[in-house]
């Protein structure tokens, strides 16, 4: 009887800077959605065993996130009833159309790469990628996707990269930063070799769990810690990629650090350059200072945005890092989402803004 006042989403379409969003999550709605893309053997395996990774739970996380749906925004559950990130129409409404996103890079976090069974991981990755073409990149010209690969098995990952290299829409190879071994080690080199060969960057995205404790002092207690110390996993991977000489071995390889934060990079490079000065003799396969490899080969996405106590420190940081290093991302539909209009708590110079919001990503991914 009573209509009341209409419910409507808050107005948030104030400006129209071109936006390339380098981190959006499309979700596999359920295992059933992948079945059509799995060979009979692995459909059977899914029934018999299902997913088996490194921790003890059948489903869920070692550290329960702040919200269900993989730590989703509470308002991101689609009215259609699926999990956040599983409904393209709702993603269009809530993200792509709402903010006028020109291009969005999808990082599907279905945990193929964490399976203990490498062949199963491989089959899952293939199924996810085929599903991504069918349900996502093929359905909206604004979408690009990351290839999901069984990255712990470098040879299998390389084959998947090769299989997809000619498929439109794939712009990146997805790896998670909590790996079995540091990413510079040789088990991962076939992956880099293929990525370099086909000119596809590798994106290392927040998440992952292996048998390694998530700190080198063991397992902490809380999700607050789990989330905060992900930055240290990223730092360790940067150290490994540099000192193992990955960028000397694969000089055209490019790496995006996605959702790792970016404030830590500047002090890390100060430390690494000083150490290199003193210890370069141990790593004669390097020919340049660590910071030079990073600036040439790596880019970082902006979310979760750094929020210094005094907001103007963010400008110091961007200057020290170099505005060419940053690519904007929202992390939709996750709880620590960055709204393009509100993420930076300081006013960015126009030139920096266009670099961060679209130019850098356009150059890096070749859009």
């Amino acid at each position: 009887m009573v209509e009341g006042v209409a419910e409507r989403a808050p107005e948030r379409t104030r400006r129209r800077t071109t936006i390339i969003d380098c981190d959006v999550h499309n979700s596999v709605p359920s295992d059933a959605a992948l079945r059509p893309y799995l060979p009979a053997r692995w459909r059977r395996y899914l029934d018999l065993v299902g997913h088996k990774g490194y921790h003890s739970l059948e489903r869920g996380y070692a550290y329960p996130k702040i919200s269900p749906g993989g730590g989703a925004r509470v308002d991101a559950w689609p009215p259609s009833g699926g999990v956040p990130g599983s409904d393209l129409d709702f993603m269009r409404e809530q993200l792509l159309d709402n903010y006028g996103i020109e291009i969005a890079v999808l990082n599907c976090l279905y945990r193929a790469g964490e399976q203990l069974n490498d062949e199963y991981a491989d089959a899952l990755a293939t199924a996810i990628n085929d599903w991504q073409v069918e349900e996502w990149t093929g359905r909206d010209s604004r979408l690009r996707a990351s290839m999901v690969v069984p990255y712990e098995a470098g040879d299998l990952a390389a084959k998947e990269i090769e299989r997809l290299a000619g498929t439109p829409g794939f712009v990146q190879v997805l790896v998670l930063p909590r790996t079995r071994e540091p990413l510079g080690r040789r088990r991962y080199w076939p992956l880099y070799e293929a990525a370099e060969h086909y000119g596809i960057p590798v994106g290392i995205h927040f998440a992952g769990l292996t048998g390694n404790p998530i700190t080198s002092s063991g397992w902490p207690s809380y999700y607050l810690e789990d989330h905060t110390v992900m930055a240290q996993a990223f730092q360790s991977q940067v150290i490994s990629l540099i000192f193992e000489g990955v960028f000397e071995r694969f000089p055209r390889l490019r790496v995006a650090l996605v959702e790792g934060g970016f404030a830590w990079m500047v002090p890390l490079l100060w430390r690494l350059d000083d150490l290199y000065e003193r210890l370069h003799e141990e790593v004669p396969h390097l020919r340049r200072r660590p910071s030079e490899y990073v600036r040439e080969h790596m880019r970082m996405t902006t979310q979760p945005m750094e929020e210094p106590e005094r907001p103007h420190h963010l400008l110091d940081l961007i200057e020290q890092l170099g505005p060419e290093m940053l690519m904007f991302s929202t992390d939709y539909p996750h709880w620590d989402f960055d709204d393009p209009n509100r993420a930076f708590q300081v006013r960015l110079p126009e030139e920096v803004k266009s670099k961060v919001f679209h130019e850098n990503a356009r150059g890096f991914y070749g859009f």
Partner: protein, 366 residues
Amino acid sequence: MNGAPAPPIRPIDCDVHNAVPSIEVLYPYLEDHWRDYLVERGVTSLEPNYYPRGLPISCLPGARPSSGGPPGSDLDLLREQVLGGVRYAILNCLYSIQSIHNEDWAAAMATALNQWQVEHWLDLDDRLRASIVVPVRSPGRAAEEIERWGDHPGFVQVLLLARSSTPYGKRHHWPIYAAAVRHRLPVGIHAGGVTENPILPVGWPSHYVEDYAGAAQVFQTQLVSLVCEGVFGKFPELRVVLTESGVTWLPALLWRLDKNWKGLRSEVPWVDRPPSEIVREHVRLTVQPFDGPRTAEGVRRVMDHLGSDELLLFSSDYPHWHARDPYESCLRHLSAESQRRVLRENSLATYRLGPETGPDGDGEHG
């Protein structure tokens, strides 16, 4: 003030390494069965591998004793190279009793090592202070060791190593903090330690340079643990000194931790104020290595981001050889007042070093 130049500040060096010249020096402090255990089983050294012998970072040019012992094992050389210029030097002995899995043996070795520190270092030079080495894998035994030495005026700190079996915030470590607070001793967490955990959180790296670079990560995660577990709320008088941790990573970590706490704090309701505030009150960092930028303006910004010059304690990290010494990397870029704080005052406020009132650091004259 009659125009005479101010006396130079005699700094307090908060990180100097004394080394065990050979395991035999500990025999007099071990019960017979442990002494025979070492001999019969051929245990000839507990020297850690954190500083590989031949790498330049492990030893300043000229710091290797002519006697042939490891760098830091010769008091006379230490006097000549360090003690002449400082008011106090705080010794952090890294002899690796923490790596012993046998609880009783570890406790016996810790006691012997501390007794040896008293007789061969503290008793021989009144500029020396030392850190109590504890069998950290057994926090109860570690607390007993702190009780044993806690009233000795020469011991001013409890020494833990950055890489531990479990994060230091976890409650089973709390007996260590209770004992430290009882004796007004800060807990110094120093780079080093090898446990069952891979030395990077993503697995074992190939090179030493990765190991050393990665140490800064474990300090970060330990600090996150100490804050999130509420250690500083439980022990409001506790001070933690991060030693040889690097410094400049701190602002970025605190930005992240503050931000995450704002959303996730209900998981740790005992953390009732921003982590950055807690850290500034309870945590200090030694300045070698500083890991800072090369310019004065860059260092000024680092200090601005740190938010306080009271966080930093002077250290040389003798006999380790970094790319830059702490004057070059940090101190020369600070104001005179900040320098005084970092060189002396912050340490006096942190450590139980006795009355210190004189302007040149010789309190006993002031």
